[in-house]
Structure formats: structure tokens, C-alpha cells
Subunit: 134 residues, 2 copies
Amino acid sequence: MIEKIHHVAIAVRNVEESARFYTERLGLGLREVKVVESEGVRIGFIPCGETLIELVEPLSPDHTVAKFIEKRGESLHHICFQTPDIRGEIAGLKEQGCTFISEEPKLGADGLITFLHPKSSGGVLVELVQQAEA
Amino acid sequence: MIEKIHHVAIAVRNVEESARFYTERLGLGLREVKVVESEGVRIGFIPCGETLIELVEPLSPDHTVAKFIEKRGESLHHICFQTPDIRGEIAGLKEQGCTFISEEPKLGADGLITFLHPKSSGGVLVELVQQAEA
């Protein structure tokens, strides 16, 4: 079951620099900036209604996000759907023939996460998240 | 003032075909499919929490969305923020040096809309919408 869009991610060269459009121009707030070692990125979350904008800055030039920016420029990178039961969701999607970048969810910035392989989701990079207990 | 993310748009070759991942796999619903003549596209809205996923299908091969798909494949296209006062928002953003694809809002699928020029929004195509009165 999908509850909502947890975040929309934008690939950026620098979190604080890119956050300025959303904070200074649109009046939104940059909630937190943190390094997610397991993913090799720095991220910043900008809350907007019930959803977040996630700015994703690669920590090394050979990171897939760095290569994405090299090819496409700074732009929309992926969309993340929130589910209360990520393992159940993965099992259901696998039964329907979907494949995952990693079938075993891992700890991301805001809970357990996994990414579907884009060939399973119409070319769009789709992430699932089950939020950590508060 | 930005209230929420109104929709996240995905450029697709065919609305119904691309909707299947979201409806059959994720259990979401395709709310409506309609032609927006003024924009030269067919769209389908898929509600998810307070936000919509908008599938955007170009009606002609020389449409900017068709060229986008040709270059990047079917992928995330733009993000749309909802404001209660689009003219006030445009005026404020102009004062801060932002430029727009069209400064005069026009009637889109779900209210008055305009697009910022991506050079004003860090490379990301950003739309604003003021929803039509119910």
C-alpha cells in the first residue's frame, strides 16, 4: 500500500547552493543537511506540504548521481513512495515481475529504502521507503 | 506562498500504457485522462496522498515533451507547486530576478498555470498553479 509521495529528489552539485531557489524564492525551509554514508551522498530535505524535496549531492565524481548530472545537468532524479510495509510491498511487486536494484531494504536517510529497477517502472527511478519509527 | 506540491509530471509516450505501473503495480488510481488543447498534450492524473502524478503525453512529434522523450527517454519532466495567488507569486519572483516562460498565467488542466524559466530554478522545470475554484 502506498500512502503518499515521501519525496521528490533533485540531483545537484551543492545542496546549499541549490536550496536557495526553494528557500529564498519560494519561501520554503531547508530542514536538515546530512551525509548518508551508505549512499555516498549529502542530502538536504525541504518540506513542502506532506512531501519533501530531497536535494542529492554526490560525494565523489564517479557516483551515479555525478554521472547523471554530467549527462543531464542538475535535474529531477527520482520519486519516492512511502509504504507502511516495505518488505510486503517488495514481495508483492516481485510477484508481479518487478525487479529491484536491491531486494533487501537498507537504512536510508529517513527509514528503510529500496529502489526499483527503472525498467520495471517505465524508465522512472522509483524508490520505496518505510519510515523509521519516531 | 507555496501550499504544497500540486503534481510531479512524467513525460510519457502513452498515458494509459504508462499508468499501468502506478495502477496495477502500486495500487493507485488513474483519475482522469484529458486533452489540454492549449498545451498540445494529453494528460492523466494519478492521485497519491495530497499530490498528483501527472502523466504528460505529447500530441505531436515536434512538441517539446516529444523532444524531451527523444533525448532522455520517458522520465520525470517537471514539478508543480500550488499557490493561492499565482499573480502575487509571479510578481514576487520577478522582483527577485526570476524569469518566466510566460508571465501571464494561462488556463491549464487544473487552474491558472505558469512555468518558470529553468535557468531561474536551478535547471529544474518548475510550474506554478492556482487551482480553479471548485
